[in-house]
């Protein structure tokens, strides 16, 4: 009776999955192009504070990264304190190790900056920026020490990494 009788011989045709690899490849290429590999692992994960008046960093190749974070629990037990640690490339240091008194230039930070500058051309050097990613609970004593060492090395453009926060 019914016009739409079930099981009238015809079955739903199987959906062709032939185009699935194409779709996946398309996604793959998108991620391959947009991806930027994490160059260095953060030894002391830093959770930067929020801010509203932020600017984007345009050229990543011109940016030197310094991380300041609170060491994780197991590391605090070894170090015996929870003072912030300063990470340059793949190694972290205490505040005392990277700061020198008075006009003395600290060799560790100097080496870090010289190494970074060596890979850049003469035209790029004035545009170099140092991005400091600091944990929101770190104390200013460490941050000021790093800033003073950068000033001694005539590296004056800096960026305080913050996360976007809409007001």
């Amino acid at each position: 009776m019914s016009k739409f009788k079930k099981g009238e011989g015809k079955e739903m045709p199987a959906i062709s999955t032939a185009s699935l690899p194409d779709i996946v490849f398309m996604l793959l290429f998108f991620f391959m192009v947009t991806t930027t590999m994490r160059e260095i692992e953060e030894l002391n994960p830093a959770n930067p504070p929020h801010a509203t008046q932020i600017r984007k960093m345009e050229q990543k190749s011109l940016v030197a990264n310094i991380y300041i974070g609170i060491p994780p629990k197991w590391k605090q037990d070894i170090l015996g304190n929870n003072n912030p640690r300063v990470q340059l490339n793949g190694q972290d240091f205490s505040t005392q190790e990277i700061s020198s008194p008075g006009d003395e230039i600290n060799p560790i930070i100097q080496e870090f900056i010289e190494e970074f500058k060596a890979t850049k051309t003469q035209d790029e050097i004035p545009q170099l920026i140092c991005s400091i990613k600091v944990d929101e609970n770190a104390t200013m004593g460490t941050v000021t020490a790093v800033k003073n060492e950068l000033r001694k090395n005539h590296f004056l453009k800096i960026n305080y990494t913050t996360t976007k926060d809409d007001d």
Partner: protein
């Protein structure tokens, strides 16, 4: 049907999707989409030996002091007024408003040392936007979070001043101007932030 018999057996492409998925997942995991962003600052050069730092008159310095307990004090010449930080982490807008008022005071724009007595300007506040300095002082134990909160308010104050000037002069927002005009406004409202101790010239 001759060709079918002689040709190579067709390679099964069924696993192609799996391989592509595997790669896709790898890139999904390693990718970091977020662009590095933050507050840009230019540090003052390290003072050379035997170079005297110029003295700045008290009325041209707006002091923002953050102590070791993250309490904020502000004021012209010396930090006297308490700035409230609310429980939700927001800061009272009085700091921003005070900085804007201080920078825009224009007590003595022509620099002849005589108070211009313009309506709305204060004798004990800054002479001109170019001479106004914001001095940011913090203790060693100050939390970075509070410091950034203040830096953000400072940037906001200057951004608003520059934007207001831009709309007044060119009828466009600061961000939409070409770089020449932006520099003109930046020179009018230079962001003078001092983080070191400044020598204060005492009043006669």
């Amino acid at each position: 049907m001759a060709s079918k018999r002689r040709g190579l057996p067709e390679i099964n492409a069924g696993s192609m999707a799996d391989i592509a998925f595997l790669l896709l997942i790898f890139f999904l995991v390693t990718t970091t989409m977020e662009v590095d962003s933050g507050i840009l600052r230019k540090l003052p050069p390290w003072p050379e030996k035997d170079v005297e730092t110029p003295e700045i008159h008290k009325k041209n310095i707006f002091v923002v002091l953050i102590n070791k307990n993250d309490k904020i004090l502000s004021g012209i010449g010396s930090a006297t007024k308490k700035v409230e930080v609310y429980k939700n982490g927001n800061i009272s807008s009085s700091l921003k408003d005070d900085i804007k008022k201080f920078v825009n005071n224009k007590g003595d724009v022509n620099g002849d040392g005589v108070f211009d007595n313009r309506p709305g300007s204060d004798m004990n506040s800054s002479d001109s936007p170019q001479e106004a300095v914001v001095s940011l002082q913090n203790a060693k134990k100050t939390k970075y979070k509070t410091y950034i909160l203040v830096q953000n308010e400072l940037t906001k104050a200057y951004n608003e001043l520059r934007n207001e000037k831009s709309i007044l002069e060119y009828g466009k927002e600061f961000g939409l101007l070409d770089s020449d005009k932006q520099n003109t406004i930046k020179n009018y409202y230079p962001m003078n932030i001092s983080e070191a101790d400044i020598k204060k010239e005492e009043d006669e």
